[in-house]
Every structure is written in structure tokens, then in C-alpha cells.
């Protein structure tokens, strides 16, 4: 707490508070645009931050990080286009909610859960930083490998349509992850002689294509381009807070999960969102059907996402080890503003560290207010006739994906995956496992190979380390339960629930 009081002197200047609010607004807007996520937002505003006082500059960037991590949910809910890969899990129930006429509630829940999850993540950041930082250090390649296996198990749960189809699309995602340059041998894998594939397909192009472009094709095939959708006017959904309060255990569990995953460098928000979703789905509230517009699904994914931001700041600020691309740029910004993360920051520049913590907490409060106030504006998008909405979505998707690397190739990837996504959806194959496979694949493979390199006893390394062995035991148990239920279902379809 002393840290916060020290930091208040730097944070509580009108300019810093204003910039934090402005950053949150900009982050939300950037996150809403398909393709542009928090990372792009931070990079865009980095030059502005250089010219500001340290806490004001970091406040601006952290607010963009927080707003951007939530903004993607809005387009996921309204248009079935995750603005960022982070929101790929949110559309599983967010979009069905919107289709059921509850877009306002879905956005309200997403923003409230994000903000509260972010605040819980902030509390974890403030009170448990040293402990979680030490915990992160005990996570070595065998533990990361085991954890990614656990994440891959979530595919079965996420795959609403069918576990087998989920495995198929998950394996497709894993195959996609093998494309690019092998980090261990520098060999090119499936690059077919084009440098565009040296780093594989860009995950954002895959996500926007699979979900966004496939949805556009669906909408075009649906016709009725000039029919005005009958969407009643909406007001700021303050009641969303009430709805979220009905999901407190889910909210707290998902937020803590998000903070923990965030604290592990490289694990990231996507895994935490899908894992939180899988757990929430396994423990549904009465009457909730996941995949068809369950409030709990949106609560789980969004609270985990934003709590992950707080978690990811833990190794970044405490160890000087950023957890993902966004925090790597945040750390670079801190460097350029003349401060070095690590214990020294807390010891010698406690005011700056405290100011950064306050900026993070305030960003989440601003997110709540701005998100709720702006919800009617976001929902008004649904009132557009298809003749306007479809070209607008195409334009935003194209601009967003092109902006990542200024590469036309990414646009072809997006359109290609759009077509793949369309046909997969028509055949009832779930798309989310592709994203999970593509994201978890490289982490899983690299850590498996790295584990074997550091091992003196081959595969035994996975069982010799307690954390890795425990996670693998959980994976084995889950696999056994899934197989058991599948067998029981095939014997007696009436009794066994769908996994």
C-alpha cells in the first residue's frame, strides 16, 4: 500500500489522469477494429509516450493495453469478428447472445467482467508480485510443455459441436503452427520457397479470416441486404454489473486463473481465456447452455483476458521479463523513459512503480465507465443494413490485417482462411480449436524439444520435476475422463452428457 501512496503523487496530476482515460478510450477503439489489438495500439502511441513524464507516458500505454485487450470482445459479440485473437473465446457465447437479441447485455457483461477481472488482476499484481514472480521462475520448459498439453485438452470442452471434430480442427491448427522457420535448426518448414511464410501465417490474419470473413460469406449468402434490422434503441447497460454479480465464483476463479497464466511469460491471454471458458463450461449454472449464449461464458473469457494483463505486468515489472509482445513494448517504453524494470524499480523508483500500478487500476475503472457509456454506440452498428455493414466489415478487416506488417500476403491469408472457415462451419466443425492449436503449437513443440535438450535422462525429465509431473497427471486424468464419457455415451447415449 505504501507503494500506492508514494505513486499517487505522480499519478494524480490532471494530465496523467486524462491521458489514462484517453488511452483507455483509444485502446477500446483500436481493439474493436478487426486485426488491431493492444500491441498495435501501444506501438502506435509509443512515440507520443516518449515525450511525456514517465508515469503519464506509461499510464497512456497501459490504458491502451487494458482497453485494447477488452475492445476485441465488442466486435466478437456484435459481428462474430474477434477484434483480437484474445477475443476468439468470447464469441463462443457472446455472439449467440447478440443473435438472441441480448447484444447490449453481452457487451455490458464483457466490459464489466473485463474491468472487474482487470481490477482483481491488479490486486494480484500489487499484493502477490514477489510470490508469483518466483513461481514464474520455477516454470521451465517441461512445465510449459505440460501446461500447453493441458491447454490443448480444453479443445475438447470448447468444441461444442463434437469432440472428434474439435480434435480434427485442433490438429489442423497444430499443423499450421509448424509452418515457418524452425527455431532449433533454422530450417524452413512448409514455406514453399516464399519468404512470406518464413515466420508462418500471422495469427491475426488467421483469426480475422476464420471468424470474420467466413461470417461475411454467411451474411452474403443470407441475402436481405436492404432490410433494416429491427433493433430497439438501447441505453447504457448498467444492469450488466448486476448480471455479472450473479457469476461471482466464475468471475473470481477466471480472474485468478488469468492473473496466474499472465504471470507465466509466454502463456498469454488466449490460453487463459480458453481455459477459463472450459472450466466455466464444465460447471454451468442452472439453465445455462454454453455455446448458445451463456452469460457465464462471456464472464469467464473476458475476466480472464483482462486479469491476464495485470498478471503479465508481474514478470515484466518484477523480473524485467515480458510475458508477451505487448508487455515487451511496455518494457521498452519504460527503458526509453529512463527506468529499468526489476526489483530496483521498486527500491529506487517506488513512486514510478506505484504510479504505474495506479495507472493500471484506474485504466480498469475508466474501462468500466467508458465501456458502459459507449455500449449504445457500439450496439447501433447492428442497426446498419447488410448492404452497408458487410462492406464496412470487409474494409475494416482489410485495413486492420494489412496494418500489422504492411503485407498484402496477410490479406490473402485472411481471405483464404475465410473460405476455409466458411466450409468448416457449414460442415459443423468448430473454429476455435484451430486458433488454440495455432497458438499453443509452437509453445508446445519448442518446449518439448528444449526439455529434451536440457534433459540428461531423455523423457524422464517430464516426470522428475514435481510441477511438470503434477500437470501431466491432471492431463492424463482429464484424458481418461473424456475417453470414459465418450465410451459411455456410445453405449448409452441417453445418460452421458456431451463433454
Amino acid at each position: 500500500m505504501e507503494l500506492l501512496t508514494t505513486g499517487a503523487s505522480l499519478f494524480l496530476s490532471p494530465l496523467t489522469v486524462f491521458l489514462t482515460a484517453a488511452g483507455c478510450f483509444l485502446g477500446l477503439m483500436i481493439g474493436v477494429l478487426p486485426g488491431l489489438g493492444p500491441l498495435m495500439g501501444i506501438i502506435l502511441l509509443l512515440p507520443v509516450a516518449f515525450h511525456l513524464e514517465p508515469v503519464a507516458g506509461m499510464g497512456l500505454l497501459i490504458a491502451v493495453y487494458v482497453g485494447g485487450s477488452c475492445g476485441g470482445a465488442i466486435s466478437a459479440i456484435l459481428l462474430r469478428i474477434p477484434g483480437t485473437p484474445l477475443a476468439a473465446a468470447t464469441l463462443l457465447d457472446g455472439y449467440p447472445m447478440a443473435r438472441n437479441g441480448r447484444a447490449q447485455d453481452a457487451i455490458g457483461i464483457a466490459i464489466s467482467a473485463s474491468a472487474i477481472g482487470g481490477l482483481i488482476g491488479g490486486a494480484v499484481l500489487i499484493f502477490f508480485s514477489p510470490f508469483l514472480a518466483e513461481f514464474a521462475l520455477s516454470f521451465a520448459p517441461p512445465e510449459y510443455f505440460a501446461m500447453t498439453l493441458l491447454g490443448l485438452m480444453a479443445i475438447v470442452v470448447v468444441a461444442r459441436e463434437s469432440a472428434v471434430k474439435g480434435f480434427i480442427t485442433g490438429a489442423f491448427g497444430l499443423l499450421l503452427a509448424t509452418i515457418g522457420t524452425d527455431d532449433f535448426t533454422n530450417a524452413y518448414r512448409f514455406t514453399f520457397g516464399t519468404h512470406n511464410l518464413y515466420n508462418g501465417f500471422h495469427i491475426v490474419a488467421i483469426v480475422v479470416g476464420l471468424f470474420g470473413i467466413s461470417e461475411v460469406i454467411y451474411q452474403i449468402r443470407g441475402g436481405s441486404f436492404l432490410t433494416k434490422p429491427d433493433i430497439p434503441p438501447v441505453r447504457a447497460p448498467f444492469r450488466a454489473l448486476g448480471i455479472v454479480s450473479r457469476h461471482v465464483p466464475n468471475l473470481v476463479r477466471s480472474s485468478l486463473l488469468g492473473s496466474t497464466f499472465g504471470a507465466l511469460p509466454g502463456a498469454g491471454g488466449v490460453i487463459s481465456a480458453f481455459t477459463a471458458y472450459a472450466i466455466a463450461k464444465a460447471r454451468p449454472k442452472r439453465g445455462e447452455v454454453y455455446g448458445e449464449g451463456a452469460e457465464g461464458g462471456v464472464v469467464a473469457t473476458e475476466s480472464a483476458n483482462n486479469a491476464c494483463c495485470g498478471g503479465a505486468l508481474i514478470p515484466t515489472l518484477s523480473l524485467g521479463i515480458p510475458g508477451d509482445g505487448s508487455t515487451a513494448v511496455l518494457m521498452a517504453a519504460l527503458f526509453l523513459l529512463g527506468f529499468f524494470p526489476g526489483p530496483e524499480l521498486f527500491e529506487y523508483n517506488a513512486d514510478v512503480a506505484g504510479g504505474i500500478f495506479l495507472a493500471y487500476m484506474s485504466s480498469n475503472l475508466f474501462l468500466l465507465v467508458l465501456g458502459v457509456v459507449l455500449t449504445p454506440v457500439f450496439v447501433s452498428v447492428l442497426r446498419l443494413r447488410k448492404a452497408f455493414l458487410i462492406p464496412a466489415v470487409m474494409l475494416l478487416s482489410t485495413v486492420g490485417v494489412f496494418a500489422i506488417q504492411s503485407a498484402v500476403f496477410d490479406l490473402w491469408v485472411m481471405f483464404g482462411f475465410g473460405i476455409v472457415g466458411y466450409f468448416l462451419r457449414r460442415a459443423d466443425y468448430p473454429l476455435a480449436p484451430i486458433v488454440m492449436g495455432a497458438i499453443l503449437g509452437p509453445i508446445c513443440e519448442a518446449n518439448f524439444r528444449r526439455s529434451l535438450l536440457i534433459s540428461d535422462d531423455g523423457m524422464w525429465i517430464f516426470l522428475q520435476r514435481p510441477i511438470s509431473a503434477t500437470i501431466l497427471a491432471v492431463v492424463a486424468l482429464l484424458a481418461a475422463v473424456i475417453v470414459f464419457r465418450a465410451v459411455r455415451r456410445s453405449v448409452d447415449p441417453e445418460r452421458a452428457p456431451v463433454v
Binding site: L46, F50, H195
Partner: protein, 331 residues
């Protein structure tokens, strides 16, 4: 009659537009610096230069992260763009010199038009601060000789510049250890601190952020300035080890470039703007604060500085082959 008139009017308008465009002053729009690595502190340093350059030119110079294939993806991406000065190569030594030497790229450093050099960063062998098996480089060598192939280390990617420099040092000292690749160096730093790795080659950024937890065994450069970045830590040559590389050869550095065929007046404008940017004391100070050293080499020094680097790096490539042979023999 109406149609020919319309065509005439359209022709007049387009001729005017073309003439306007030909007369227009460079730059008319934003410039992109194609940066070959993922986002992080090093990208931030390029951003400092880009911002200062943008101030001089009156347009925004954005740094576009295009990682892949040890930097060659960025080079190939920039090569596909027109030679109009709106695309700059953030010419890091790996894609500019090293990858061609390894046969992974079909260009040489002579195929580009240089602007100014950017920054350099020296590498250092670091271990955990509480490491008690050895205290200094001599102890480190002795321990490694007694335990051949047992120690684990990372230099980030495999076959990269720090790997070459370290392999050269190990070859000279007749020691061999097991390299473990970590494409994201921060993961390697985490695993060093977590006890999985025994040592690694750090850059100044990682050293500064983890200073209290790391101990520098030796700086991999002959330059005094490099030692200063690591708080006066000894250089390998202080222990009588001949690195076999001098000047920029054992260090990470970048030189901003444009494509051949870029109009001379455009090149001149870019050189003037970048010269002003990298020589600005405020820019220099910002770069130094991050632990990088501004180089300040002008475009006409390009050949003189880069040519020896290309020659010397071959010995590093040979050292990696030697290391592989030694490790295979130990299996």
C-alpha cells in the same frame, strides 16, 4: 462532341496530376523502417531514431516489426517495395552480413545504399549472481573443461551472431557446452535465473534489467566502451583470450539502408535527416540510457566498416561447426 471533350478534360487533369506528382517534394507520405525482429527494447531504440528522423523530414517514420528467418524476411519484404525512399531497411548485421555468409540469403552488403549507422550492442557472458562454482572467467573455463558438454547455455537463436562469438571463445579456450535455443531471449534469461541454464550471452538491455541477479564473467568485445556498458566488467582479452574478431565484428549493430536505384536526391534527403537525428545529443543520450551505443558512422564509411566484419565472421561460423563436432563426439 460531349464525349471527346470529357476525355480531353480528363487527360488534362491527369497530366496536371502527374506533373504535380513529379514536382512534389519528397517525402509526401509516411516512411516505413522494416525492422527484422519482434517488438522489444531493441525496436524501441530504432523508434528513437525513427522519431528524430521523422521530425527532420516532417513525416512520420514508423518502425514495422517483420520478424522471421533470422531477419531475412524483413529484408525480402523491403526488397519487394519500390526504390522510392519510402521503405528503409533496418540493416541488422544478421540479415545484412551473416545470413549471406551462411548461404541463407542471396545478397551482400554491397547491394544496398547506406544511410547512417544506427547503434551497437556488445554481448557478455553472464551467470547467476549467486553462482558459486566459479568466480571469474578463468574459473568458468576450468569448470567447463572438467565437465565437457555438461553446462547448458543460450545465445537466443541457434547459429546467430552471439552464438558465433561465444563458440569462438569456447573453441579458443577448448571448452564445450550444450546450446539450448530460445527464440525469445527473455525466456532464456528466465531459465538462467530459474537454474535451468548455466550461462548465456546477454545484451545490455537484459543486463540492465536483471543486473542484481546476474554476474558478468566476460565482455565479448575488445572495446573499452563495451566494458563500460557492463559496469566495467573485464573483457575476454583481459584473460588472454584472443577473440579473433575486432571492431564491430563480435557485436550486434545496424546500419539503415535503402534499395539500390533510389533517386539520389531522395537518398541525400534521407541521409541528411538521419545524420541530424543520430548526431542529436538528446537522441544519443536516450540510446545510451537503454544500454546501446550510438555508432555515428557516416554513409561514406560503410564499406570501410562493414567489409572487415564480413571477413571476420567466417571464423565464428567455423567455430559453431567445431562445437557441433565436439558435442557429437561426446554423445
Amino acid at each position: 462532341m460531349r464525349k471527346p471533350l470529357t476525355i480531353l478534360a480528363a487527360a488534362a487533369v491527369s497530366t496536371f496530376a502527374v506533373a504535380q506528382s513529379a514536382m512534389a517534394e519528397f517525402p509526401e507520405r509516411n516512411i516505413e523502417d522494416i525492422y527484422p525482429w519482434g517488438p522489444g527494447a531493441t525496436m524501441g531504440v530504432s523508434q528513437i531514431i525513427a522519431d528524430a528522423m521523422g521530425d527532420e523530414l516532417g513525416v512520420n517514420v514508423s518502425v514495422v516489426s517483420t520478424p522471421g528467418a533470422a531477419g531475412t524476411k524483413a529484408f525480402k519484404t523491403a526488397m519487394e517495395r519500390p526504390a522510392d525512399g519510402y521503405t528503409l531497411f533496418d540493416g541488422y548485421v544478421a540479415p545484412l552480413v551473416l545470413q549471406p555468409l551462411l548461404g541463407k540469403a542471396d545478397w551482400t552488403y554491397k547491394d544496398f545504399v547506406p544511410l547512417w549507422s544506427g547503434t551497437s550492442n556488445a554481448f557478455a557472458i553472464v551467470v547467476r549472481a549467486d553462482e558459486d562454482r566459479f568466480d571469474d572467467f578463468e574459473g568458468f573455463v576450468k569448470y567447463a573443461q572438467e565437465n565437457p558438454g555438461k553446462m547448458r547455455y543460450t545465445t537466443g537463436g541457434t547459429g546467430n551472431l552471439p552464438h558465433m562469438v561465444l563458440a569462438k571463445v569456447m573453441q579458443t579456450s577448448n571448452i564445450v557446452a550444450k546450446p539450448v535455443p530460445y527464440p525469445e531471449m527473455q525466456d532464456g534469461v528466465k531459465d538462467l535465473r530459474g537454474g535451468v541454464l548455466d550461462f548465456l550471452t546477454s545484451n545490455p538491455g537484459f543486463y540492465k534489467t536483471n543486473k542484481d541477479h546476474l554476474k558478468v564473467i566476460a565482455v565479448l568485445s575488445e572495446l573499452d566502451a563495451a566494458s563500460e556498458v557492463y559496469d566495467g566488467a573485464p573483457r575476454v582479452m583481459d584473460f588472454g583470450v584472443d577473440l579473433g574478431m575486432s571492431g564491430l565484428a563480435p557485436m550486434g549493430w545496424n546500419w539503415w539502408l535503402v534499395k539500390k536505384g533510389t533517386p539520389e536526391d531522395v537518398v541525400e534527403k534521407l541521409r541528411t535527416a538521419m545524420g541530424a537525428a543520430v548526431n542529436d545529443p538528446e537522441v544519443k543520450e536516450k540510446i545510451l540510457n537503454v544500454g546501446f551505443v550510438p555508432l555515428g558512422y557516416s554513409p561514406d564509411q560503410y564499406d570501410e566498416i562493414v567489409a572487415p566484419v564480413a571477413e571476420q565472421l567466417q571464423s565464428g561460423i567455423d567455430a559453431i561447426a567445431w562445437e557441433k563436432e565436439q558435442l557429437d563426439a561426446l554423445k
